[in-house]
Point group: C2
């Protein structure tokens, strides 16, 4: 037995005394097969350790079993969660996951992605935010005959090609909770303009305030860019306002960590003098001091659902498309004035 030559369908056919086609029928579980023949062939397959060649299959079927994950998301935790979710779905199938981190600001972005999909002849691709919000890109994918599912923070697409989280509602509920604790001056750190997720979280904040009967105050809302430093800068502005907010909702955890720095520099204790809520529940949230109350995206199940939609287009409409994030309560929030 040669070590480097894997058995092929021809070997199986020869050894079991049937034609290639019959072996192919066994592999594909064709119902028109005699039980005896099937067992005979299966025995030879097991004996040889035969595994069909996916490239040959892809060629003959004129489709392959590669799904691509394209992302430019800076949140490592999230990207890995997505990979994990996709893998849960495809683990026992013949699909494989091909990843492609890209740079949103590259001038050749579109060309690069088009080339990637064409070169690998991907069966489908999954887009992560923020790049999933790029409609031109979605157009390119469809143009290439590649099925597409987008993940996002809101509806961008029809149900068959979308998996989204309801950020708006989650933020609204978080704000309602803060208001319920007695907070009246609630600050907000927004995400970067032009991002769907940022917009949705902002709307959720505004709606939450309104529901609690609180008026939005422009001095208490600052825009950041989802990075730590911008949270720190936003914190400087918010905490120097007077009167100071007693609570701040930050559109992501990293900016919340920056805000925490600013508070610490000013000797403002969290949570007794300032409550903070973040968004994303990244690893950092549980590990800073105090542990951060934050909104958790159900990222793994979302990615698993997205992968299902990709590999099973028939079932795509019936699978869940909208997921609700929930609040993880940790130590960074208390009622105001509870020193």
């Amino acid at each position: 037995m040669k070590r480097d030559a894997k058995p092929t369908i021809n070997d199986v056919a020869r050894l079991s005394g049937v034609s290639k086609k019959t072996v192919s029928r066994v592999i594909n579980k064709s119902p028109l097969l005699n039980q005896t023949t099937r067992e005979k062939v299966e025995a030879v397959i097991a004996d040889l350790g035969y595994v069909p060649n996916p490239q040959a299959r892809a060629l003959a079927l004129r489709r392959n079993f590669l799904i691509g994950l394209i992302h430019d998301n800076p949140n490592a935790q999230m990207v890995l969660g997505v990979q994990e979710g996709i893998l849960q779905t495809i683990r026992d199938t013949e699909f494989a996951l091909v990843v492609r981190p890209v740079d949103r600001h590259s001038p050749t972005l579109m060309e690069d992605i088009r080339h990637f999909i064409e070169q690998q002849r991907l069966y489908g691709v999954l887009l992560l935010p923020p790049i999933s919000e790029n409609d031109g890109l979605a157009e390119v994918c469809r143009d290439l005959g590649c099925t597409l599912v987008r993940m996002g923070s809101a509806r961008l697409d029809d149900d068959a090609h979308l998996v989204a989280s309801n950020d708006r509602q989650a933020v609204r509920e978080a704000v309602a909770w803060l208001a319920g604790l007695g907070h009246k001056r609630i600050g907000f750190i927004a995400g970067p303009a032009g991002f769907r997720s940022a917009f949705e979280r902002e709307q959720g904040f505004i709606e939450g305030l309104a529901e609690a009967g609180l008026a939005p105050d422009a001095a208490l809302a600052v825009r950041g860019d989802y990075k730590f430093e911008s949270g720190y800068e936003a914190g400087q502005r918010l905490l120097d306002a007077s009167p100071r907010p007693t609570a701040v909702f930050s559109s992501n955890d990293e900016m919340a960590a920056g805000l925490l720095h600013a508070a610490r520099e000013r000797g403002i204790d969290v949570p007794t003098q300032l409550s903070i809520i973040g968004f994303d529940d990244t690893a950092i949230a549980a590990h800073i001091w105090p542990p951060l109350t934050t909104v958790r995206w159900p990222i793994v199940p979302m990615a698993a659902a997205a992968a299902h939609k990709l590999i099973d287009p028939e079932g795509a409409f019936t699978r869940q498309s909208l997921f609700l994030s929930d609040l993880v309560r940790r130590a960074s929030v208390t009622a105001p004035g509870s020193s």
Copy 2:
């Protein structure tokens, strides 16, 4: 022009009036070609937007262009850094990256991985620690005729199939620096037993102490498991020791964050009463308070080098195999007694 039927080599051959083989020669930049013919064919290729089918190529060449990344590393930052590094290398090649997160504790681990490699007929795989330390697994890969490169914290293999960081030396230098600042009681939080990286860091610590003329003290060394909680528990033990250490080296950042919690609970100020050094320079290091001095793995260049070794076996020996980590100095360290 049909939308869903991509042009094939036959279309190109027909339209440019040459044989498939000649087109193939153009694609593969064969030197025996007449310049005129080449240009003629290239014009048709550009016109048609022809892209060779990788599956057909893979079949004919009896090799493919898929490289696998197998990992069970809990550090998202690191895994994504590796993906980024691999992609830098393969971006302009025909290779693609297929990822496979696995569960180290799964009883079917070996079988799963074998199946993954066989099913996709991977050209090569890259193993990340800690699973890269599993020699049985390396055996399986080689057995399957799949080239293999391992990343790790120390030599596990020959230069052609290894990319490692010199953790030991990095830790030694960090400890020397602490000692140079005047620290005499330096605590240590070790990684889990059986991990190469943990062992190397531990040895580096011991050697560093010895070089500084300090005696190791069993009361100042605690073993953790690289997780936040174990760092917290280790911190409780270390900070209740008397006399207390004035500095602690933690074998990774997450445990350092746990230690920081324990310090804060006891009202011990960092860095004035306790200096802390971590390892890995994950996102958390820069975002906790105070920002953590830590050892940074050059993870992206390491992964890029590993990918090079995979796709270019000839050059494998000449590429760098050993990388030195360096110390990122932030605010968590000062000289002892500098209140």
